[in-house]
């Protein structure tokens, strides 16, 4: 239950987006996210989940409607500031990790924001500790397993200490053990998370609130249990 005193980290209002004329992917998405919430974003293939996440981090600014991140309205001028507050874990960790070692990759974000080496060092150590991969610190990125890459990608985002973390299909291509490990790690990480996934079981275990998208709009928004137990609703939405 939301109250007026909760800090709002994300406000999306009547968001519309088209890849090309006549093919509108998002047709007026409205929702908000309060600090500390773990929210699942579910919906069938092609419903616009990944597109929505990309708009939320300003990778495409050709949208209609409004997006506010930590009180800042999304625009070209505010991008740098917004990206300090919002982290995005890509579906493909292989492409997200581009530095040679885990340590260098995790330090990339903090260094870009002109932090002192002492602070960078501390951020890197904390982030690696949080996802339990301190032992991989010096390891070369190409040598990591799929599960390790995912954790390293999350650490790289955590090092920036964002107000909100967006994750696109984090459990994809993980074996059961790595998936369980990821669920446990996400449970330990404090902060606000918005997780887009098809993996409904994963959403049940990581998110207390769920947003169900269908046909370019938010079809349902509420407690995860209520939404995922509504078989008729899920079926209507192609899940």
């Amino acid at each position: 239950m939301k109250t007026g005193t909760e800090k709002r980290v994300l406000e999306v209002s009547d968001l519309k987006y088209s890849y090309e004329k006549g093919h509108q992917v998002l047709k007026g998405v409205t929702f908000d996210v309060n600090a500390g919430e773990n929210i699942g974003l579910i919906g069938a293939n092609g419903v616009g989940k990944s597109t929505l996440l990309k708009l939320l981090v300003g990778l495409d600014l050709h949208f209609e409607g409004t997006i506010h991140v930590s009180g800042h309205s999304m625009s070209r001028d505010s991008l740098t500031h917004i990206r300090e507050h919002i982290g995005y874990v890509f579906q493909d960790s292989d492409s997200q990790l581009f530095m040679s070692t885990v340590e260098e990759d995790v330090a990339f974000g903090p260094r870009n924001y002109d932090m002192s080496e002492t602070d960078v060092e501390k951020r890197v150590a904390d982030a690696l500790e949080r996802v339990h991969i301190t032992n991989l610190r010096k390891k070369q990125v190409y040598k990591l397993s799929g599960g390790e890459k995912k954790l390293a990608a999350i650490a790289a985002i955590l090092a920036m200490e964002p107000d909100l973390i967006l994750m696109d299909e984090p459990s994809v291509a993980l074996d059961p053990r790595n998936r369980r490990n990821l669920i446990s790690v996400l449970g330990e990480i404090p902060g606000t998370k918005l997780i887009a996934s098809h993996d409904l079981d994963f959403i049940v275990k990581t998110c207390s609130r769920t947003i169900l998208m269908y046909d370019g709009v938010v079809r349902a928004d509420g407690p995860t249990k209520d939404i995922l137990e509504n078989a008729q609703l899920l079926e209507e939405c192609g899940l």
């Binding site: 981090v57 990206r83 492409s95 581009f98 040679s100 330090a107 870009n112 002109d114 040598k143």
Partner: protein, 266 residues
């Protein structure tokens, strides 16, 4: 493993060498770059017949291979693409320079033969010195050294990004060719009719991945520069460059070789 996978494997192996916790790998990147450049310039500066003085310059790669715990065999194997080209540069010399320098019995050794060998040795030493540099320094190290030398930022970033993307291009090419081979098991190589499609696919996929990498960089504050932690220059970094500059300079410009020779004779 196909050729692309082999090449990716070579990159992985070089990367492993660069990450080793050895004294030589811990030297300041600028020290490693400057020593290599000084060596290459001095080697290239020898006279075309000065085979004796040139031969003693083997001391630098010999030292680096020993201290850097590098395998000469692996080094020569990994540089096998460049080596034949470098060694072939002097091949026409015996045909153009027929001036007899020495008579070995009834066999006349011409200036062309000597200059051909000198060119080959120069090429070999240069390639070995470069191998030492890339086996002990990552792309980041080399770019850091370039930045220390005030090479324009744009050039350094381009070098760095090429280093990043080359592995990605290779892995995409490997995926595509593997997928092709698995569905065309009786074919040797790739049929020429599929070349266009495969190259097109390769470029499109690589561009897509490059876009994701770029987006990922932007989302973590990339503003056209790769910030690096500042690495201090220590006394042994300065001494290393200085000692090598003096030793190599002495071997090149003074009669040190004759002196060493006389000592042995005495």
């Amino acid at each position: 493993m196909n050729t692309i996978e082999n090449n990716l494997h070579t990159i992985d192996k070089l990367s492993e060498l660069q990450q080793r916790d050895l004294w030589m790998n811990k030297l300041h990147p600028l020290t490693r770059l400057l020593s290599s450049v000084i060596y290459i310039v001095l080697v290239a500066s020898f006279d075309k017949y000065d085979i004796v003085h040139l031969a003693i310059m083997a001391v630098y790669p010999f030292f680096c291979f020993m201290v850097g715990e590098l395998s000469l065999k692996d080094g020569l194997y990994r540089m096998r693409v460049v080596l034949p080209l470098v060694l072939a540069v002097g091949l026409p010399n015996p045909f153009f320079d027929r001036q007899v320098l020495i008579m070995a019995g009834s066999f006349a050794i011409t200036g062309g033969m000597v200059s051909m060998v000198v060119l080959m040795i120069k090429g070999l030493f240069t390639v070995l010195a470069l191998y030492v540099l890339i086996a002990t320094s990552s792309v980041e190290d080399i770019c850091y050294a370039l930045r220390c030398l005030h090479v324009p930022k744009t050039i350094v970033i381009v070098v760095l990004l090429i280093g990043r993307y080359i592995y990605m291009l290779g892995s995409e090419a490997s995926r595509i060719t593997t997928a092709y081979r698995l569905r065309a098991p009786r074919q040797k190589g790739i049929h020429y009719k599929a070349w266009g499609t495969l190259v097109g696919q390769w470029l499109i996929r690589s561009m897509d991945r490059a876009q994701v990498v770029y987006e990922s960089m932007c989302l973590r504050g990339f503003r056209g520069d790769f910030p690096e932690s500042k690495r201090g220059v220590r006394l042994n970094d300065v001494l290393y460059t200085l000692v090598w500059a003096l030793v190599l300079g002495a071997l090149r410009f003074t009669g040190a070789v004759e002196l060493i020779g006389q000592l042995f004779v005495a």
